[in-house]
Point group: C2
Chain length 250, copies 2
Amino acid sequence: MERGLAFGDGVFRTLRMENGQPVWWQEQLAKLEVDAHRLGLDMPPSSLWEQDIAWLAVRMPNAVVKLTLTRGPGPRGYRLPDLVFPTRIAMATPLPDFPDPASKTGARLRVCDLRLGHQPALAGVKHLNRLENVLARMEWDDPDIDEGLLLDGEGNLVSGVMSNLFVRHSGIWHTPLLDRCGVAGVTRGRLLHLLEAEEARITLPDVLAADALFLSNSLIRLRWVSALGERCWHRPPDYDVILERLCSEG
Amino acid sequence: MERGLAFGDGVFRTLRMENGQPVWWQEQLAKLEVDAHRLGLDMPPSSLWEQDIAWLAVRMPNAVVKLTLTRGPGPRGYRLPDLVFPTRIAMATPLPDFPDPASKTGARLRVCDLRLGHQPALAGVKHLNRLENVLARMEWDDPDIDEGLLLDGEGNLVSGVMSNLFVRHSGIWHTPLLDRCGVAGVTRGRLLHLLEAEEARITLPDVLAADALFLSNSLIRLRWVSALGERCWHRPPDYDVILERLCSEG
């Protein structure tokens, strides 16, 4: 009867726990609340989430933490139950061998065939309806490809399958506007500020014409892109400074 | 770790069980398989589903049966697990007080504000990413409204929140083309054949100009529409014949 399973009726966050501390915790919590409200879902008190985190922190102080909030159980059918008892799931898994963001090796990308649909009512929200990402991730199995770019039906860049994108043209950083699809995550928010980036419509030709390209998400933080098909980029000289500034902010 | 919950990575069917017999069983099973394949998911053997049904039939011979098939458990992340062990869920709930399809009272509709996004890769499939339906169903609480119409971003009729639609113009039945969104269910398939209906792009003005309007799904089967806002329709004289033919086919 769990609506999270029946309909994907919920939201989630994935974040790093380092030495028992959830990274960028207040922002992660705030984003979870904003997303919950987009679905008309009440946010449980922070203290409950913090109890979950504390419980996990003792057992796995360095971990990927995933927090899920769903509409909870309900009778069959789309209509909301008269009383909503949200389900709260907090899960820790070992930090995998993520590529070192400071690596001399950049990420290699492909362009996915799947085009994201437009749904302004859900744009920006990290909800549990993620079949588009699943289908896009099924398109490649080559371990040399680190990420797939997702375009929308009009050919605008939206994001990577697992990350957001920052694109530099003549020294100005841009990132896709996420008003019709995509997930506006916490790391993207930080980078928008840090890079003084602008949200814009970005096409694939714009990407190929860029002088630098970065991936971001809350787990890898930041990664520079070395190749998209035939197009190659060098490691930007200011990359380490940007990475340092991103990771040093509390 | 269940991908059905994490991503809505799965498909489902909702059907009637009458006197211990699942209605239109072969078609339901075939549709579940087609939908599973659209997600690259193998269909468990029919015999397994039939064991589930037999188990439920003894306990609740008249029921709504819901069958769910997911990609099963997997490590965190969109990438498919190396070995997929699908999760199979078979659930029976009591048949609620559905409106009698033969009722002299027709269904009253509204138009939902939410517009469905286009995603051809998932169009027609009854998958577990149903947040659009949830959000649309949240738009009204008036018990006098039986169903909400869903349009796409271009203003084309797609379906009801819980049903499909058939619209008659000058004696010819039409139903929305579901090549970009919507769920192409079993009852819709039967009615397409029975009414010799054509799939077409149908706008809201087309709906208002129709001389009759029917809803369908596997639970209510068929229902005539009496009102959409100010626009009213009479019970079509041939409605009972159509209903009889729909329900009598094995």
